[in-house]
Amino acid sequence: MADFEPIIVAFCCHYCAYGAADLAGSMRLEYPPNIRIIRLPCTGKVTPILLLRAFEKGADGVYVAGCLEGDCHFIHGNLVAKPRVNYTKKLIQEVGLEPERLEMFNMSAAMGPRFAEVAREFTERIKALGPSPLRKTQSAATKEAA
């Protein structure tokens, strides 16, 4: 779809990914406006239901961004998040969503350019996949309601 602008939710940990986002901002790096950032104290806070809710509410793509492995501010948080994200990929696949709509990335607070790069690449990925199959019916429902 030519005019499809995905809604992407990025769960970012305060200590690294959010710091990287801040740095990207100060460096005036451009990245797509499709990204809605939600700040968490740590990616260890991520549970499957959090990610499922994002999709339920209409997100086309979701990613979790945390510290580099071995450098988590809370030691294990990002290691705990990884299998949960992988598990949730299976959960969304069961529902009929492509597992590629969900991903986990790692970066340090100094990696402003990486933050922008992830944002760009993920947005491209979701554009190629198209709108979430849920959004199709939701927008149809909204159109009817309107």
């Binding site: 239901i49 959960l91 529902v95 199959p133 019916t137």
Partner: protein, 222 residues
């Protein structure tokens, strides 16, 4: 604890064909401990079901609730006010809980979201293993605390068989040979003379083979 695993998603979706408003009911007992049927699992499954039905243009309204246990009538009673507003219950309890809900609300379709698999314990969080076959006649005295009925694939009482290899069972290299474990334990307890005592043919009447069982505490009957 009783261990259960969530049924394949498509199977659950199929069960709910034709339903419009359901209660997804979790259990705060064993299935919460083994992470498949408690409040978290209720939330996840409900979200998945809503999305799946939304996708098929056939919305499903879900009430989510978790009660202390589903294997006690007094707790199952707690959903009586909800039951009037729904057309089905999807229970995440073990087989016992599902039956209790179905029995208390006989005009309400009640479906199992889990396959109840075994009685066991956790090796660590998220990793559960079978340990008891509920044979009703515990033999752990003879086998130094390791159950041959549950842990030997052939339930041999005078094992091991000739297929024990490197401490593993012939059926699967990941499965311990129970008799290897028993022998090792008997050795460490200096009880090897117990090994050569023949354990006689078992009386399976105390197990499920004898028919469904009941346990009654007379001191609690009024």
């Amino acid at each position: 604890m009783v261990i259960g695993e969530r049924k394949p998603f498509e199977e659950i979706v199929k069960m709910l064909n034709g339903h419009k408003k359901i209660l997804v009911l979790g259990c705060g007992g064993c299935v919460t401990v083994c992470l498949t049927g408690g409040d978290d699992a209720v939330k996840v499954l409900s979200s998945q079901l809503r999305m799946s039905r939304e996708k098929d243009n056939d919305p499903l309204e879900i009430t989510e609730k978790t009660i202390e246990r589903q294997c006690d009538p007094e707790y199952v009673e707690q959903i009586s006010d909800i039951v009037g507003q729904i057309d089905g219950v999807l229970s995440l309890a073990c087989g016992v809980g599902v039956q209790y809900v179905a029995e208390r609300y006989p005009t309400m379709p009640v479906y199992p979201a889990l396959n109840t698999t075994f009685v066991g314990g956790s090796k660590k969080e998220g990793y559960y293993v079978e340990r008891c076959q509920t044979c009703g006649d515990c033999k752990l005295y003879y086998t130094a605390g390791i159950c041959p009925v549950a842990r030997c694939s052939k339930s041999l009482l005078n094992g091991p068989c000739g297929g024990s290899t490197n401490g593993k069972c012939e059926i699967d290299p990941q499965v311990d040979c129970a008799w290897q474990l028993i022998i090792d334990r008997l050795k460490s307890l200096n009880l090897m003379d117990r090994y050569e005592q023949i354990i006689e043919a078992n009386d399976w009447r105390s197990s499920r083979d004898g028919g469904p069982r009941t346990m009654i505490r007379e001191d609690f009957q009024r």
